[in-house]
């Protein structure tokens, strides 16, 4: 009991000291800019939990510009289902994060203030068009994520694999060698975590095709999930690995937290995931260099590609105007250009031309070309979402990929080809219902 008290008081003292420091410094760094006349509070709903320390640092740094502005972060678990309800009403707060591939572009002006014309951002920021509509930008991505594989190279090496696999054949071989060695799980499929299965799909677009319009073309393609097509090829790797026992023994109870620990402790060779995961796993690993993020094992004419996508974007409520709007906008500029957020989280920096963080170095070293999905043409805005909803293929989500893993685990009687056939059927039906039976001839891309 005494020990707790002592520890408690130590913490109390420490936090008080911190607090005192903070106030002192903000006083001493009062800048002479006009910002000091502005005094207000800004509420900011975010999906990031438990990052109080980081937010406190941002507050301190932003106060150099606006000493009397207080940003109140409102971290919200279960963010996506929460925020849709909040957006149904205008008074949800001043700033928030827009999840990626969540709202069709034409709905952006319903909720958010324009941050300026697209032409102003296009050449300076990455992903500028991801949250833009009709030439106006409504959201600035906080960072970018590349999709591919996260490897523990030491585990591979111990099993006799010296270079990272660059095509499916090498990949299967590597996984089989790891399995034969018997000391580590070859591929952690992370089925139990649900949403992680969705990461496979990102590779089916850019990483296989190198085509930025692939997602747009998908709306008009005839049977895009047939054998030999990118989706089929990528998901078949998942299916085969599970079927061959190259994955964790009990995928139903797997989760990213376990995967992270296994990777870092040399008990797992790889997993399919976004680049953000690299930093997390490295932090736990005694030799962080063993954890390497690399492109999906595929190459087209000797060149590898990796899909990159915008992460959650900063946005301002459309009801915010005047001085407050300016402060919010300046805060977004600060977060994007000065806060170092991308480096802290190991993501792709938003300001064009900035060097990539260490975790993405291997992509640069191997000359992997990064592919961003192009926004759809004006008349196609929302079309992909509509097809996706109508067909219930849950593209970008995990439900239908889980079905593939379940079949591979022998829990359902479907074969992989049957599932893909069903996908094609559903997609075609949706295409006919929404675009019309001449959908294939209408492809504008």
């Amino acid at each position: 009991m005494k020990k707790i008290l002592v520890l408690c008081s130590v913490f109390l003292a420490a936090s008080m000291a911190l607090f005192a420091n903070g106030t002192k410094e903000t006083k001493s760094t009062l800048s002479p800019s006009a910002g000091k006349d502005i005094s207000m509070e800004i509420s900011f709903i975010t999906h990031k939990q438990g990052m109080e320390d980081l937010f406190a640092r941002y507050q301190k740094e932003f106060n150099e510009q606006y000493p009397n502005v207080k940003i109140i972060y409102e971290p919200t678990p279960d963010y996506k289902s929460n925020i849709v309800l909040r957006w149904s009403n205008d008074n949800w707060g001043d700033m928030c994060m827009i999840p990626h591939v969540f709202l069709p572009q034409d709905e952006l002006p319903d909720h958010f203030a324009s941050l300026g014309p697209l032409s102003e951002y296009e050449n300076v920021y990455e992903f500028a068009s991801a949250f833009a509509y009709d030439g106006q930008v409504y959201g600035i991505s906080s960072t970018g994520t590349a999709y591919g594989m996260l490897y523990n190279v030491k585990v591979l090496k111990d099993a006799g694999v010296d270079s990272l696999p660059e095509n499916p054949k090498e990949f299967y071989e590597a996984m089989r060698k790891v399995k034969a060695k018997g000391e580590a799980i070859p591929l952690y499929c992370d089925y139990g975590a649900g949403s992680r299965l969705a990461d496979w799909e990102w590779n089916a677009r850019g990483s296989l095709t190198g085509d930025s319009d692939y997602k747009n073309k998908l709306c008009y393609m005839v049977e895009p999930f047939a054998k030999g097509k990118p989706y089929y090829e990528v998901l078949q790797i998942l299916y085969n690995c599970v079927k061959e026992g190259l994955c964790e023994d009990d995928p139903a109870t797997s989760k990213w937290d376990s995967c992270k620990n296994l990777l870092a402790n040399y008990q797992c060779a790889c997993t399919c995931i976004g680049s953000w995961a690299c930093v997390d796993a490295q932090k736990l690993c005694k030799n962080p260099d063993d954890i390497v993020f690399a492109a999906f094992p595929w190459n087209t004419d000797g060149r590898q590609y990796a899909t990159i996508a915008a992460d959650y974007a900063y946005a301002i409520n459309k009801t915010v105007t005047g001085a407050k709007y300016q402060v919010c906008k300046d805060y977004i500029t600060y977060l994007t250009e000065k806060s170092n957020f991308s480096y802290d989280t190991g993501g792709i920096p938003i300001v064009k031309g900035q060097t990539y963080p260490k975790t993405l170095k291997s992509l640069q070293d191997n000359n992997v070309k990064l592919i961003i999905d192009n926004p759809p043409k004006q008349q196609d805005i929302g079309l992909f979402d509509e097809l996706n909803s109508e067909s219930e293929l849950y593209l970008g989500k995990y439900q239908q990929k889980a079905r593939i893993v379940e079949a591979a685990m022998g829990q359902s009687k479907e074969t992989f080809d049957e599932i893909m056939d069903d996908w094609n059927k559903r997609w075609t039906a949706a295409q006919i219902k929404i675009i019309g039976s001449d959908y294939a001839t209408r492809n504008p891309y």
């Binding site: 939990q49 109140i72 409102e74 971290p75 990213w256 870092a264 402790n265 995961a277």
Partner: protein, 262 residues
Amino acid sequence: MGTFLALLPLVTVLFASFKTAQEYATTSPLAIPSHLFTYWENYIIAWRKARMTLAFRNSFFIIVFTLLGSILTGTMIAYVIQRFDFRGRLLLRNVFLLANLIPGVTMQVGTYKIMSNLHMVNSIPGLIILYTGTDIIAIYIFLQYFDSIPRSLDDAAIIDGCSYIKIFFKILLPLMKPAIVTVMILKGVSSYKEFYMANLYLQTRTKYVTISTSLYTFTGEYGNQYNYICAGVIITILPALVLFLFLQKYIYNGIANGAVKE
């Protein structure tokens, strides 16, 4: 045996709450922590980072007033339904009973709209009113219990010239004690644990964190800090358990005093 089964699943929580992040990452969930009951760091961090002091204060406030509201409205409506004959009595009863049977998945949209029109979003009183108005299972229990209190008591009081309101507050309510305690336990626990609405309607965590939302401080889209969460779970369970035992005893005393006996 039952006790064993009830406690067994919690072993992993207890163990994880005494492990360092490093130890948690490298050992099996069933490995006994090297500092069982001596490493309290997780508890301290859970308490501090999840703002447990504030969370307990808010939750306490919410529960007390929710219980007050639920018990008052619940007993009142049960009294009306159970003791008066009037046109529409059955309708009234069924309308309340039906409410508990509605599966509401897409109802939150409507509720949110109403809450925000009434300016009850991001306010603790707002959440209290919402809690009082939903999960009205208490009415069943009160209806049942009123049934067991003989009507002759009311009749005698009426002859004595008591008003209905007086009968309700002075005679019936004290007799309802065991039912009230049961409702307190059940509704108290459910509002203590309730996460969805607390998360949706209490936006500003720095001010309005509750016990159920505080634990989520350590969760994230990209992974959870389970050693802190587990410590938090233990912290939140213990006071509730103590309170439960206390209330249980209270039921006994209530009975022993012969409150219900005629």
